[in-house]
């Protein structure tokens, strides 16, 4: 167990719970170790927190929440995995959330690895896809509960 600085304050995580990036994210290719953090009040969203750079976080959600389906799997996927998309917050007061649908992330829970892959085509069904109100359980995101002294209580989703 080691304590890391994060956007949410100091956070303790065991080595076996660290996610390793095997297909680097363009623009962030030096970052390799990450944690998945979940605030229960934020429903299906999870934070991909860099353990190499404390200020780097990405908000993720399952692609179904943007009515996106990926029929392909990335080249680095040797086992079954979980796709997630980066969320881009609106820049205006009444804007809507957007997704980085061109470059989803693919998580491999068996090996605790993930990577970003670029897709040139994805499906957007006309009928809304069903979407869960929690992050995918396979990801075992660490639940974080801010407490009064600015440190974090933790658990596993």
């Amino acid at each position: 167990m080691k304590t890391y600085d994060t956007r949410f304050g100091p956070f303790s995580i065991a080595d076996e719970e660290v996610w390793h990036c095997i297909a680097p994210m363009p623009g962030f290719t030096d970052l390799q170790r990450f944690a998945l953090l979940h605030l229960p009040s934020q429903g299906p969203f999870v934070w991909l927190q860099s353990l190499d750079e404390a200020l780097i976080t990405f908000l993720l959600v399952a692609p179904e929440h943007f009515n996106i389906r990926y029929s392909q799997v990335p080249h680095f996927a040797k086992t079954s995995g979980v796709p997630m998309v980066m969320v881009i917050l609106p820049q205006t007061e009444n804007g809507t959330l957007q997704s980085n649908s061109l470059a989803p992330l693919y998580f491999l829970p068996e090996t605790r690895q993930f990577g970003q892959w670029i897709v040139e085509h994805h499906e957007m069904p006309t009928e809304p896809l069903s979407a869960a109100h929690l992050p995918p359980a396979e990801l075992q995101a660490q639940i974080i509960v801010p407490i009064q002294d600015q440190s974090l209580a933790t658990g596993t989703a």
Partner: protein, 87 residues
């Protein structure tokens, strides 16, 4: 920059694991075949730039900013299932 001249069917090698073959030259375009190991990402340059920019945009999603967005839209978490992709 190293500049090489190749004809159709000829190749260049980069290290031991990357081989690039000129498969067709036609109408001012060159078609390339690329052999490499699985862990090498190969992208058209303009696509890579697009993804870099999108990743930078996603990085700006600070936890405080997202909480602010959620607080402005109390039902947002329930309604996100109906959100359409805008990217």
């Amino acid at each position: 920059m190293l500049v090489l001249t190749r004809r159709r069917g000829q190749a260049i090698c980069i290290g031991d694991n990357i081989r690039i073959v000129v498969t067709r030259i036609e109408d001012g375009q060159v078609r390339l075949g690329i052999e490499s190991s699985d862990n090498v990402t190969i992208l058209r340059e303009e696509l890579l730039e697009t993804v870099k920019q999108a990743n930078q945009s996603a990085l700006s999603s600070a936890p405080e900013a997202f909480n602010h967005w959620l607080n402005q839209q109390p039902k947002a978490v329930d309604d996100i299932g109906n959100t359409k992709d805008k990217a």
